[in-house]
């Protein structure tokens, strides 16, 4: 009677030779996808106001206002350059004031790009002011 063939013993070990290669590939992936750069910008809590509120504020108290119209920058209705605006805002010493006195109205009329608007907002914010956006009426 022929003997039954001996069963071949299979190696039951999990092949781990390539584990480190896989792990290093994952590391390379994470190194490449990680963003190490930090965001830069400014923070602003915006109280919004419509045109009528703005008018009331302008008559009751002398709330400073920055206007952007036709590509020009105006501070309290007078045309200024960005550097002059910075200086004028710093002169107001908004950082030392509190509450409503810190508010600076920002009004844009017509077509205004975000770059111009952003620079005005950044200048107000850097001077310690609180930006209040005046939305154009319908």
């Amino acid at each position: 009677m022929p003997f039954a063939r001996r069963k071949e013993k299979r190696d039951l070990d999990i092949p781990t030779d390539s584990v480190s290669d896989i792990a290093f590939l994952l590391i390379i992936f994470f190194i490449l996808t990680t963003t190490l750069s930090k965001l830069s910008g400014f923070t602003a809590e915006l109280p919004s106001a419509d045109a009528s509120q703005k008018q009331a504020a302008a008559t009751d108290t002398k709330t400073p206002g920055v206007q952007i119209a036709g590509g020009k920058l105006l501070f309290n209705e007078q045309e200024v350059s960005l550097d002059t605006l910075r200086d004028r805002l710093l002169d107001l010493q908004l950082g030392k004031k509190e509450g409503q006195e810190k508010v600076v109205m920002l009004e844009a009329a017509g077509a205004v790009d975000y770059q111009t608007y952003y620079q005005a907002m950044a200048a107000i914010s850097a001077a310690g002011g609180v930006v209040a956006i005046v939305e154009e009426g319908e």
Binding site: V19, S20, S40, G41, L46, A108, D113, Y118
Partner: protein, 141 residues
């Protein structure tokens, strides 16, 4: 005289723990990574002098160069949707640091597009963290 045999040490690098080290590094990178929610390829940020470093936040709103609006990386149709989304995220948060909303907008976008979005974030109780790039001050003579 019989000289003692010198044992030769084979110069093999122990590689057994290499996999463990690699996986520890992988876990470190997984935990410290911040996956970008927004596709910022179509956003050219504005520049200004007076910028400071900000911490990353969980809520983000972006507007690309085509005027497309995104809330946490997902396209949205109107500022009203952004307002509802931001309000939902900020429920129960009172500290201004917790109410930060990262706002990215292309520098060429018109006021008609970005102003309602800013107003929507504001109405929802968000503190706007407007992202930009720092520009060097011009040299003074």
């Amino acid at each position: 005289m019989k000289l003692p045999k010198t044992r030769r040490v084979t110069p093999a690098v122990p590689l057994a723990s290499m996999g463990d080290i690699a996986f520890l590094l992988t876990i470190f990178f997984i935990l410290t990574s911040n996956f970008a929610k927004d596709d910022t390829r179509k956003i050219k940020p504005p520049t200004a002098r007076e910028l400071e470093q900000m911490e990353k936040q969980n809520v983000s709103v972006s507007i690309d160069s085509d005027g497309g609006m995104f809330f946490n990386g997902r396209p949205v149709a109107s500022p009203a949707t952004i307002e509802a989304g931001v309000a939902g995220f900020l429920t129960g948060k009172k500290d201004p640091k917790d109410r930060m909303v990262v706002f990215r907008c292309d520098q060429g976008v018109d006021k008609k597009v970005f102003e309602p979005v800013l107003a929507a974030i504001s109405k929802a109780g968000g503190v706007i963290a407007a992202v930009g790039e720092s520009s060097q001050p011009p040299a003074r003579n």
